[in-house]
């Protein structure tokens, strides 16, 4: 039991950190430009595939640096030549644009890398156990991922709070027009933030690819969950996105790990229900993919501004 709790907590935190890497960029983009970028998870997927292709040439570590830069550049191009054009037609048009973009990127990935998963894996030496607990190994790679994630958060915090650009970004989050009136180049700032957010998603892809699986469906499976994180955390709140990421990561991991059905739980509370019924026989593990969306609908109904958000979407 303790084994399950410890490993589920570790894995849940890991998954949560990965989610936060994705959702931090999405939150920044959303609160600044008002665009809920549907293609965000597609950039995550591109990060994984770029790192896979580059990794074969230059190795894992250079790819870890290069792939996010490439994805970020691509994101900046998309903002400059696509999104900016659509902007004048309103938010719905922007959402439609990113939706179509996600569609096209998914298809392009299938076209270039094929419809089955590619063998993108961490280097061999990172598959060694970092420590062994209750006879189960925790690989070095997982530890490295946590380190990278923590390093990224510190860098993000430093960038936003301690640099001039960060100050402009924070100002533009709430007072976009005023920043423009003060003579800063807001479109360029938008492009930078969009590219930066996409680069973060790309970084998440580089480390998420070996962790989960690098296949064309990875954007579709993770994309909606990232939206859930952003909405649950509160639109535009980085710290809210952080808590929501960890929350969803932990909930999903624990639901998968606990081998019990609804009936088992109800029976434990003294109720007497059929353990093999259609509804009561559902295991928590099979409920796991649904939990983020249940949370989303509940949050939107009862607390539309999210956990930490100040504005309603």
């Amino acid at each position: 039991m303790l084994e399950i709790v410890i490993f589920s907590t570790l894995n849940g935190i890991l998954y949560g950190l990965l989610l936060f890497m994705l959702s931090s960029g999405l939150t920044l983009i959303f609160s600044m430009m008002g665009v809920l970028n549907f293609a965000h998870a597609s950039f995550y997927m591109l990060g994984a595939y770029f790192a896979y292709t580059m990794g074969m040439e230059v190795g894992f570590w250079p790819a870890l640096l290069l792939a996010p830069i490439l994805v970020g550049g691509l994101g900046a191009m998309v903002e400059k030549f696509g999104l900016r054009r659509v902007h004048e037609n309103g938010h719905v048009a922007e959402l439609l644009f990113t939706f179509g973009l996600a569609y096209v990127i998914d298809e392009l990935v299938q076209l270039i890398w094929g419809t089955v998963a590619v063998a993108y894996r961490e280097p061999d030496y990172m598959r060694e156990p970092l420590f062994t607990l209750f006879g189960t190994d925790y690989s070095i790679f997982r530890g490295v991922v946590i380190l990278i994630a923590v390093f990224m958060f510190i860098a993000l915090w430093f960038l936003l709070k301690k640099t001039r650009v960060g100050m402009m970004i924070r100002a533009a989050l709430t007072h976009g027009n005023m920043v423009g009136h003060l003579g800063h180049n807001v479109p360029r700032l938008f492009m930078g933030v969009f590219g930066f957010g996409c680069a973060l998603a790309g970084l998440a892809g580089v480390i998420g690819g070996p962790l989960l699986a690098t296949e064309p469906g990875m954007a579709v499976t993770l994309g909606p969950i990232v939206f859930v994180v952003v909405v649950v955390g509160g639109m535009g709140s980085l710290i809210g996105a952080f808590y929501a990421s960890l929350l969803i990561g932990l909930i999903q991991t624990f639901f998968v790990a606990i081998d019990a059905s609804i009936a088992d739980i109800l029976n434990a509370f003294g109720m007497n229900v059929d353990p093999y019924g259609e509804v009561t026989g559902i295991t928590l593990a099979s409920l796991a993919p649904m939990t983020p969306f249940i949370l989303l609908v509940l949050i939107l109904i009862f607390r539309p501004r999210g956990l930490m958000g100040e504005l309603e979407p």
Binding site: V86, G90, A93, F99, V104, L111, E278, F293, V297
Partner: protein, 421 residues
């Protein structure tokens, strides 16, 4: 969709002009089966009919009510499931020769779907309709994912991965429709499509239909004059869900199988795709979109393996360059024709069209070459009867030349096109 078109004055007098589109489309529907010959053409027509109703019902939300939904397939799918279960009930009842369902013909299945879709919207809709915009988009996305996941979880209702299937040749026959062949099904489809399209058009003329445009354009003002926007959104949501369910009922009869995948994000996206390609601002836009997208989906796959990519690119191009969609383009053409300014504006349009054709030729060649390079079984990418070798640089240069030529035409004719617009 943000431009507010002037509300036409109410015409109470009978006019052939208002009636003509209906007469023409009815005539087309009647004549088509005598022109079409192959069974595959009928199959395609039936798919298009389902998609037309689906796309139009979606546009009640997005185009007319301003509510962007990513979960419209929930109504389509649940309507379809209801119709399928009803069809199986008819099968059993008519086998036993008694019971309520033994008197119900299969041709009325779209009504069952409609009731189911409307009921689902009625039950779940109220908390969703508080806000439009991003909140609505997100909550419908969550709903869609949730229902799709639930579809896998209750096999006795949804049939698990394999779905459930039925038989449409059961129960009492009406109008001598045996529904055995695709040609038989065509009459069924034509009837329901015509009826549903007319009903949805009539809906836009009702006070509620007008109000739905108001809630899209200015909800605050609507609230101010005493109509709570949430109530109106809720009513639109129910109406749209009903017609989505009706499309689902048609699909149940057409395909005779339904899987939980029909509830998910992919069919919801298809509705959005069709409506946006056709144009959200014109009533008949989604019809055009449904026809074009269905044709592209079924025909392109004969010629290329990247057919879905092309559909996506067309969607992206329309969102970027022609936000009013194909229907908006047709409207523009009609306005020019009526004003007599067609002669002045046509050259600019033709130049623009030529540029678009060049750009798309370049892109298509590029994609085909890319595909050939990655997956090629033979050496050449087939391109409108010509063969291009993916290995030779010249092919790629051709693609680039066509693309750049198109962009150049676009750039240099910009002033001319704007002056004559």
């Amino acid at each position: 969709m943000n431009d507010i078109t002037a509300v036409a004055p109410r015409q109470n007098r009978f006019s052939w002009r208002a009636l003509s589109p209906w007469l023409i489309s009815a005539a087309v529907l009647l004549i088509l089966p005598f022109v079409l010959e192959s069974g595959t053409a009928f199959t395609l027509m039936n798919v298009i009919a389902v998609n037309i109703v689906f796309a139009l019902s979606y546009n009640m939300l997005l185009g007319q009510g301003g509510m962007l939904s990513f979960g419209h397939a929930v109504f389509f799918g649940l309507g379809s499931y209801a119709a399928m279960h009803a069809m199986n009930a008819i099968d059993e009842a008519s086998y036993a020769g008694e019971g309520f369902w033994s008197h119900i013909p299969v041709v009325s299945m779209p009504l069952v779907g409609m009731i189911a879709g409307g009921l689902v919207a009625l039950i779940i809709g109220w908390p969703f309709c508080r806000r439009a915009g991003t909140a609505f988009a997100m909550i419908t996305l969550g709903l869609g994912e949730m229902v799709a996941a639930a579809g896998q979880m209750f096999p006795s209702v949804f049939g698990g991965e394999a779905g459930i299937y039925g038989n449409r040749m059961v129960g009492p026959q009406w109008f001598g429709l045996e529904l055995a062949q695709a040609t038989d099904v065509y009459w069924f489809m034509a009837f329901w499509t015509f009826l549903a399209v007319f009903a949805m058009w009539a809906f836009t003329r009702t006070p509620l239909g007008r109000m739905s445009n108001a809630v899209r354009d200015n909800p605050d003002r609507l609230q101010f004059i005493g109509y709570p926007p949430r109530n109106i959104r809720f009513m639109i949501f129910i109406a749209s869900g009903s017609f989505g369910g009706l499309a689902g009922g048609m699909a149940a009869v057409n395909y005779e199988i339904i899987t939980p995948e029909a509830l998910g994000l992919i069919p919801s996206g298809l509705a959005l795709l069709m409506a946006a390609v056709g144009g959200l601002g014109v009533f008949y836009g989604p019809i055009v979109g449904a026809i074009v997208v269905s044709l592209m989906n079924s025909m392109l796959s004969d010629y290329t393996d990247a057919s879905i990519l092309y559909v996506g690119l067309v969607f992206l191009a329309i969102v970027m360059f022609a936000p009013r969609g194909l229907g908006g383009g047709i409207e523009q053409f009609r306005v020019a024709l009526r004003e007599g300014s067609l002669g002045k504006r046509l050259p600019g349009w033709l130049i623009g069209a030529a540029a678009v054709v060049l750009i798309s030729l370049g892109l298509v060649l590029f994609i085909e070459l890319l595909f050939q390079w990655r997956h090629g079984d033979d050496e050449f990418a087939h391109f409108f009867g010509l063969d291009f070798a993916a290995g030779s640089l010249m092919s790629w240069i051709w693609a680039l030349v066509m693309f750049a030529g198109g962009v150049a035409v676009m750039r240099f004719s910009k002033k001319f096109r704007e002056d004559n617009a």
